[in-house]
Amino acid sequence: MIGLPQVYILAGLAFGAFAVLSSSDTSNPKRWRNAAFWALLALSMLAGDRIGDFGNGLLVLALVLIAGLGGLGKGAVRPDSPAREAAAARHGNRLFLLALVIPVVALIGTLAFKAVPDLVDPKNVTLVSLALGVLIALAAGMIWLRTGLSEPLHEGRRLMDAVGWAAILPQMLASLGAVFALAGVGKVVGGVMTAVIPDGSRIAAVIAYGVGMALFTMVMGNAFAAFPVMAAAIGLPLLIGQYHGDPAVVAAIGMLAGFCGTLMTPMAANFNVVPAALLELKDRNAVVRAQIPTALPLLAVNIALIWFLAF
């Protein structure tokens, strides 16, 4: 059965290639740091299940030491935009066809692989389809543009350098969430929230639920981590238990109040920090800044919706 293990092998090979290419990039003053960083990530993808939990922990510490003490570097970028302009004119709109291969394969694969649960792990159809889309797009691009494998890998390494260590920040934050859960952080936060709501005030409970969901999401970077805490602290005992709110409304719109928090925090790295790096923006918080004026009014709307629809 095709599932995550095969996808991880592909990812390990890609990071391994980035590591090898980084080591030979003499224009990058920190090339050995980059090479070591991507090599460790390749090791994690290829052999993470074999080196044990403690081994993985040491691997993470090594990654953090490389990124934290001195950081990663970037190679010189060849600014040959006339060549790209000429290529763009020559290839025309067919370039868009190539750009659509990954989304289209991901779409078809996600729908079609569900029908063959023996062939593809039904829990991971989307990731398998994404990987398949990458392979098909790569093969089609190499044939059509008549390049070898080294050109896409070199270009991939260049983009990877632009993202830098922020590439693993989402995975690190997800791991921190697991440690928070083990330590019982959620229960304590829930206890604090319950203590600050005045007794008998339904409107205060609704506001505390919505705002608390957004705030705790901002701290954790993830509404999935905030939901069980706030729902257990305020949603279930007060809004549903004491004031008889509709549980479906309280849950569904409470989660969406949390999503407003996701828009406002650098902790939601994959949505807010990684795109800033990917678009090579000077301000790492530029995306958060662009989103706050949408998130705040939407949070108010969500709180009002709970108030009007749940009771």
């Binding site: 991880y8 990812a11 040491l58 729902a231």
Partner: protein
């Protein structure tokens, strides 16, 4: 109650305010939280390592970079730009509003991975938005690119919960079930529709204002 376990949250907030390396801050927060909860250091390292290994799927998305890089090398961004410049009606508000709507609708159908920052924003939407806006300087171009990335997030977040088999819906269903309340995914997903409409209205209004400020 052991309030010391909250010290990790303070480490996170302080670390971000002091602009320390975020990876270092995360590890320090985990360390402080785990020790405050009375965990042994070796147990803590192993717990973090296990969680890191279990969440590798989060970092798999980078395998798209060689394909994006190849297309960029052969002029994808330039082509996206000249396509928009050649279309007379392709204004910034139309482009972003159209993308927002498309992203909300496809996410509502469960197709969350067909677009994204690596797949569509960097190679297509951002250069198209910059071409449509004709920014006066680099700072304005940065704002437009950041707005394009934000539009992708808003479309994804406030579309995906309408789909019944998305992670957050299953999480809510599971949580409520543990507490003795049986909800069907459909009951939860219909209540995402009012917020989806509000998100489109609010963000669409901001896109319209961005377009007016451009003129």
């Amino acid at each position: 109650m052991n309030y010391w376990v909250l010290s990790g949250i303070l480490v996170m907030i302080g670390g971000f305010m002091l602009r320390l390396n975020a990876l270092v801050v995360v590890v320090l927060a985990a360390l402080v939280t785990g020790l405050a909860a009375g965990m042994d250091l070796a147990v803590l390292i192993a717990a973090f390592g296990k969680a890191f290994n279990d969440t590798r799927y989060v970092s798999v998305v980078w395998i798209v970079l060689p394909v994006i890089g190849l297309m960029e090398r052969h002029g994808l961004q330039e082509r996206a730009r000249s396509l928009i410049e050649g279309l007379r009606g392709a204004t910034l508000p139309r482009l972003l509003t159209g993308y927002l709507l498309l992203r909300q609708i496809t996410s509502a159908l469960g197709l969350t991975s067909i677009a994204g920052h690596a797949q569509t924003v960097r190679p297509l939407l951002a250069p198209m938005a910059v071409a449509a806006a004709q920014p006066a300087d680099d700072a304005e171009a940065e704002r437009i690119k950041a707005f394009a990335a934000g539009t992708d997030n808003v479309g994804l977040f406030f579309g995906e919960d309408i789909f019944i088999a998305i992670g957050s819906i299953l999480l809510m269903k599971g949580f409520m079930e543990q507490n003795g309340i049986i909800l069907s995914p459909f009951e939860l997903s219909v209540w995402a529709i009012p917020t989806a409409i509000a998100a489109f209205a609010i963000h669409g209004f901001r896109i319209w204002r961005l377009g007016r400020a451009q003129r």
